[in-house]
């Protein structure tokens, strides 16, 4: 099974080379492994994730929007490009089906295009677009499932569960190579897919699309307190699911990197 990155021109290095480069070397800033955190440094890195942002320069965006509304409609291609993935993943977090998510994402983008003149400059374009994507996802879900969706959500929220993480004693024993493995990313993808709907949606907006708590709350139409609770539970559920996986796949010998067949 090969990495699916070929032909996409997005990743210049394959897994092996990335892993080799990290072996025995210090942290490499630009790569994921370089950003992964060792236990000892953790305290100093506090809050760093919260700083991450994917926003394009807002002035350029505002300028683009006014030009499009004024008639340069082809510029909408440029406006939407940075958000293509965000729209897709938002719809996917609701409909949970790739083909449906793609159709829904297209529909959401077309809707955004048609209603761009109703966009208010004081709002953030990314949040506005996310709301359109959520509405489209929900519309599709209702069509597929019937109208029972809301009551299902209420029930889910009240379910009490064990939201404590899996204690881990040997995280530092896990080589960076393991964290770079394709299997781990697949496991994470599956774990996110298996999260209950309300948790997956919050997790997707907050940690995948990097909206902040308030934006996530606004986009989903719930209050920020609910977002925090759901986010915490989602993260803990994922930690629990991935910890055993990390323990079992970690290669025994130091510096030994086994590539997937």
């Amino acid at each position: 099974m090969e990495e699916s990155s070929q032909g996409k021109g997005r990743k210049e290095e394959d897994l092996t080379r990335r892993a080799q480069r990290h072996r025995g070397e210090g942290a490499e800033k630009k790569t994921v492994a370089g950003r992964l955190i060792c236990a000892r440094k953790s305290v100093a890195r506090q809050g760093e994730l919260a700083q991450t942002t994917m926003q394009a320069a807002p002035t350029k965006e505002t300028d683009l929007i006014s030009r499009i509304v004024a008639g340069e409609r082809e510029l909408f291609h440029d406006l939407i490009r940075p958000y293509e993935k965000m729209v897709y993943l938002t719809v996917l977090s609701i409909v949970k089906n790739q083909a449906d998510a793609e159709d829904g994402a297209q529909e959401a983008v077309i809707n955004a295009y048609r209603h761009l003149n109703s966009f208010r400059a004081e709002a953030k374009f990314s949040t506005w677009l996310t709301m359109i994507a959520i509405n489209e996802g929900r519309r599709r879900l209702r069509k597929a499932k019937g109208a029972a969706e809301d009551s299902i959500e209420e029930l889910e929220e009240e379910k009490e569960g064990d939201y404590t993480p899996a204690p881990l004693t040997d995280w530092r024993e896990i080589p960076l190579e393991t964290l770079e493995r394709k299997e781990l990313r697949e496991a994470l993808r599956e774990a996110v897919e298996e999260l209950p709907d309300i948790y997956r949606q919050v997790f997707t907006l907050r940690d995948l699309e990097e909206l902040n708590i308030e934006e996530t709350a606004r986009a989903l139409g719930v209050n920020p307190g609910i977002v925090k609770v759901r986010l915490h539970r989602a993260r803990i559920m994922l930690q629990k699911k991935l910890v055993p996986f990390l323990k079992t796949v970690a290669p025994a010998r130091k510096g030994f990197f086994r590539r997937a067949p």
Partner: protein
């Protein structure tokens, strides 16, 4: 205040987001200094978030972008032909 592990776990998510009160933050950090289990648990949770943000974890279907812009192009051309600047 001296925190127990289970209390630290309750704050993991907000701690990662930098949203805990300064006093709680201090208590958590004091606990982390001597508790390997909580340090490892916190790191694993945080690393999952970093992996989540890795572009290779959640990918778009092949050809998604091309199909999207093709559809958009049709929409732009059909909806308001008069507004196109030539």
């Amino acid at each position: 205040m001296k925190l127990e592990c289970k209390h630290v776990w309750e704050y993991i998510s907000e701690y990662i987001d930098g949203r805990v009160d300064p006093q709680v933050k201090e208590d958590i950090e004091r606990h982390l200094e001597h508790c390997e289990i909580c340090s490892a648990t916190l790191d694993s949770t945080r690393n999952i978030l970093i992996l989540t943000a890795d572009d290779r974890t959640f990918e778009l279907p092949m050809g998604y972008s091309e199909r999207l812009h093709e559809r958009l192009k049709k929409e732009i051309e059909s909806a308001e032909p008069d507004l196109k600047k030539k």
